[in-house]
């Protein structure tokens, strides 16, 4: 991956009896991977340079005098490679035995257990029992600052972490000190990883449990976690991530490779902002007005009462407040409903900072200024940003507004409890309880992005899908379903049954999404029809 560029010439080689044709310049390890044939390796990582020092990717190449390190040996035309020959297996077994000479049998208390490459490789190719009778060297545990703990005894000295800090983050805060048996990764004197905005990635790329996250320490076993592909909701970059969940809680976020958006990485800002997905102060049942109070009901009754009220209120001006944390589907459904009610302005409030945090080796990955995932989607659907940089204010124009007021996804934390009390009909769709929404005539619970399927549009207009990793609490439903059901009732059309159908409807609302299907998006996303120009890219 380090040097793509303009390789078009192809070479054909044979790996374990199967022919494979790859671009010239590809290494044997990558060619084998293209065949689905994984050669053990530690120091090689697709996003970093390959120093060929772990000696674990040794394979037999016919004609070569000795085994070759497949991570740096480029594939040649007509080459014949054996990854499973007796010689290769014997030597790799020997290398693994050396790794275990000093590695503690820490698995029961190690957070990497279950997703550890040393466990995997030794299980697949190593010896059943150790022969080493010497005492193991002991380093103990070191706090590297920030979110990162270092267990020196577990390190296999692959130097991925050092190379990540040098090459990708370009913030050389880690180094190898000492030599040979005593070598160990360390920071420089008192300086830690604190404040280095991409340092969390070294925990992901560490093949063993030497680098672990303090936030995740002892929280869950790797095999207990479910992985759901999702999109980071913390800025408009839209990094591809996996939600790691257990017992209906998100326990950590991990980057999911997407070479067009975030390569193999994500920023620490995004990585550590997942607590809100586990919030428990949730709206759980539809609340409707009954005389002067509000009572909880079921959905059928709530929607019936709401449609009756909409008809009773009749033709009134409509204003809506949306949220840039809503999916394209939810925003499009809101647009549909507002159109069905006769049309009106939709505004949204969005947090924003002045600072961008680019990853030096791949500046296209930047923690963007917009700290919400779907600002672009809202703009595509003709909604306008109002208010301040901390997502407050901007609603002064609604004071005394006496039409139909729709608030979707914005909990209005800065508004007074009597917000919207002048409106003929005040409808709130939200996930969280808040003071300002208690007075709404109808308060309907909707799912968060972690609890439903949908898409976000990132800063450059790339539409990317996410999947539900959690179960929504109580009667909460996806917002698009509620809004689209109301719109369909007013228009007399069919209610879209799946997020995919709703997205097709969004394509009817804006040319940006026209003709795009979920199939086109896949797991990697696709640019909307009219990608916006990248500032300075």
């Amino acid at each position: 991956m380090a040097d793509s560029g303009t390789k078009t010439e192809r070479v054909t080689l044979t790996i374990d009896g199967r022919e494979v044709s790859v671009e010239k310049g590809t290494t044997i390890l990558e060619a084998a991977e293209a065949l689905g044939n994984r050669i053990p390796h530690y120091c090689y990582h697709p996003g970093l340079s390959a120093p060929a020092q772990c000696r674990l990717c040794l394979v037999e190449v016919e004609g070569a005098p000795k085994l070759q390190a497949s991570c740096i040996t480029t594939a040649q035309d007509g080459q014949v490679v054996h990854t499973q020959s007796d010689d290769a297996l014997r030597q790799r077994k020997g290398v693994l035995e050396f790794y275990l000479a000093n590695h503690p049998l820490d698995c029961p208390i190690c957070d990497q257990s279950g997703e550890c490459k040393l466990q995997d490789y030794v299980f697949a190719e190593g010896r059943k029992h150790g022969r080493n009778r010497e005492p193991k060297r002991v380093f103990g545990r070191d706090d590297f600052g920030g979110d990162i703990l270092f267990y020196g005894d577990r390190c296999v000295m692959c130097t991925r972490c050092v190379r990540f800090m040098n090459e990708a983050a370009q913030d050389p805060l880690l180094t190898v000190v000492e030599r040979g048996n005593r070598s160990v990764i360390d920071t420089f004197f008192d300086e830690g990883l604190e404040g280095s905005p991409y340092a969390g990635n070294i925990v992901d790329i560490c093949p063993v449990g030497a680098l672990v996250s303090k936030d995740f320490l002892h929280k869950a076993r790797a095999w207990d976690l479910d992985h759901t592909p999702s999109i980071c909701p913390n800025c408009s970059q839209g990094c591809n991530i996996d939600l790691h969940t257990r017992d209906n809680r998100v326990h950590r976020l991990k980057p999911r490779p997407n070479l067009d958006v975030n390569q193999y990485w994500m920023c620490d800002y995004g990585r550590h902002r997942y607590d809100w997905m586990n919030r428990t102060d949730r709206l759980e049942a539809p609340m409707i007005e009954r005389e002067d109070s509000r009572v909880a009901t079921g959905w059928a009754e709530a929607l019936e009462a709401l449609t009756a009220r909409l008809e009773e209120v009749g033709d009134r001006p409509v204003r809506a407040i949306a949220s840039p944390f809503s999916s394209n589907e939810e925003l499009a459904a809101l647009r549909l409903l507002v159109n069905a009610l006769g049309g009106g302005e939709i505004h949204f409030r969005s947090p924003r900072t002045d600072e961008e945090i680019p990853l030096p080796s791949f500046p296209k990955l930047t923690r963007r200024k917009d700290l919400a995932p779907n600002v672009k989607g809202a703009e595509f659907l003709g909604m306008a940003r109002v208010g301040d940089d901390d997502a407050t204010g901007g609603l002064e124009g609604l004071e005394g507004f006496d039409g139909i007021l729709l608030v979707v996804g914005d909990a209005l934390p800065d508004c007074a409890p009597d917000f919207g009390s002048d409106a003929a009909l005040h409808i709130h769709l939200g996930s969280y309880t808040s003071r300002a929404t208690e007075a709404a005539h109808f308060r309907l619970p909707i799912a968060t992005h972690a609890e439903q399927e949908g898409t976000f549009t990132n800063f450059e207009g790339r539409v990317q899908r996410f999947w539900p990793g959690l179960e929504a609490p109580g009667a909460a439903r996806p917002g698009w379903l509620v809004l689209a059901a109301l719109a369909a009732h007013l228009e007399g059309t069919a209610v879209p049954q799946r997020a995919e159908e709703m997205f097709l409807k969004a394509g009817e609302l804006t040319p940006h999404f026209q003709g795009i299907t979920y199939q086109d998006l896949g797991t990697r996303g696709a640019l909307a029809n009219e990608p916006v120009a990248l500032p300075g890219a």
Binding site: R141, H218, K219
Partner: protein, 166 residues
């Protein structure tokens, strides 16, 4: 095949005496009362001797300083076929991994002994104990303290002289 049925005639009332059989039966009973080889076990006055491989309610081993031996590795909740172990791991003030919550629902447990077999630090054991009557169901969920207090013998799942069954 036609079944042949032998018809037994019931003795007419008043013509047969059962006295002989009754005396014979009572004789047997009295004989057993004085028989030194009788099999009846006088439980609960006499305690039952359990086999060393009897698998009953659990025991959590403790270190000399009173800490549980469990390191919260998560293997026993993973292997448990009855899914009756609840574990939340954490770190104590000396930086050791330990179970903040460790509970076994002895009502759901099927006493398979796999938790004992899988434990890498020989912390959790099934025990040689079966007298567990309680007044409420909740009391059958043993928490960490209760498991550490159990003082009965733990089970020998294998012969100590031949731990790998070789």
């Amino acid at each position: 095949m036609a079944a042949t049925v032998k018809v037994m005639r019931r003795p007419a009332a008043g013509t047969t005496s059962y006295l002989r059989s009754a005396i014979k039966g009572m004789g047997l009973t009295f004989k057993h009362m004085i028989n030194p080889d009788k099999a009846t076990h006088q439980y609960p006055e006499e305690p039952v001797e359990l086999s060393p491989r009897w698998r009953g309610t659990h025991v959590m081993e403790v270190h000399a300083d009173g800490r549980p031996k469990c390191v919260a590795c998560g293997l026993c909740p993973t292997v448990c076929p009855a899914n009756c172990i609840r574990l939340v791991g954490g770190e104590d003030d000396q930086g050791n991994r330990y179970p903040i919550v460790y509970e076994i629902d002895e009502f759901r447990c099927i006493f398979c002994g796999m938790c004992q077999e899988v434990c890498p630090v020989e912390a959790i054991h099934v025990g040689q104990h079966f007298e567990n009557a309680e007044y409420t169901r909740e009391r059958f969920v043993y928490d960490l303290d209760r498991l550490m207090e159990q003082d009965h013998e733990s089970t020998l799942l294998w012969d100590p002289s031949d731990p790998r069954s070789e």
